[in-house]
Subunit: 214 residues, 2 copies
Amino acid sequence: MRLAELSRQSGVSTATIKYYLREGLLAPGRQVNATTAEYDEEHLRRLRLVRALIQVGKVPVATVKEVLGHVDDDSLGRTIRLGAALWALPQGPEPDEEDPATVTARAEVDRLLARLGWETSREMSTLSPVHRSLVAAVATLKRLGYPCDAEALAPYAELMRRVAQLDLDSMETHASEAEQVETAVSSAVLFEPVLRSLHRLAQEEESARRYGIE
Amino acid sequence: MRLAELSRQSGVSTATIKYYLREGLLAPGRQVNATTAEYDEEHLRRLRLVRALIQVGKVPVATVKEVLGHVDDDSLGRTIRLGAALWALPQGPEPDEEDPATVTARAEVDRLLARLGWETSREMSTLSPVHRSLVAAVATLKRLGYPCDAEALAPYAELMRRVAQLDLDSMETHASEAEQVETAVSSAVLFEPVLRSLHRLAQEEESARRYGIE
């Protein structure tokens, strides 16, 4: 398809597409003559992802570039490729290492992972920004005087494990590994608000069931 | 306890406590003489909640006041009291009613709730800001060309239902209904980042288990 058609199908203006091309967020089309290039389904897919990251996820252009670099790096194994792409996304706040609550929280997260038998997460704990975000979030609860221990967190983690299984099942319906990694990245940005809303709606439903509405 | 002790135990400065008192976010202490007031555990608990909402949740002071008004309103049934407090918190983006994707998304959410048998959520759908946030989040996925239908959402909703059961179980360990509603509000703000981090960590763990690390 031509640029105009790519714009029509993606809902992204031609000016914005040209900007993405200049920034290297989108691969150049196949040049058919001096002024015309031809784009395909792969361009359309990539454009959707870039738009999701920039417009919805508010991810800075430089970060999008880094994320796409990992998405496209087929020299990596799938877990590392996925991890690298997801770790490059903006993460939650870093733990405050000056705060004693961080030390307690890190010990609690260690106990949790041991209890769950999540060996990979334990091994990667010093590298993973996701692990650091969890420590920071637990530390915040502890600092404000709310209890948050491994025993209380474990059943939540088990349910999130099942959510992650659904995520990967749906990712695996895509044919190529490149598409699978793209799906994982867009879900991390776009599906999070769906999950949060479902959680809150479920709280309302469960509350009505337990306590009635009067 | 005196103001200085309340400050020490809560980690909130006396100046900030005085500000919260002036703004009516904290009930006045019991006056023991012209210059001294006595505070109790209830003040400490409320102070924790106010701090969680303002410092972590970045909730504006006027909104905190409104939320606390619902938390303290024991004329309401528990579901409504909980709902009113949670609905007063800042919500996700509103659906764009001009966008055809909103119409499709709303129909999909209706199908989902019917499928799940979540009757309360269906009945409250025109009132609930949580319902509107879900419609907006699904519409965003649809607009960007990602499939998101009732069949795909249902297993996620079922798992979130079990998460909500854990939430209410832990809420019910608190003695008074006032404390229970306070717990629900602080969890909505403080526990959300914990859940999101657990979800991402679970994705890493599950990915390593399925695809190995190499």
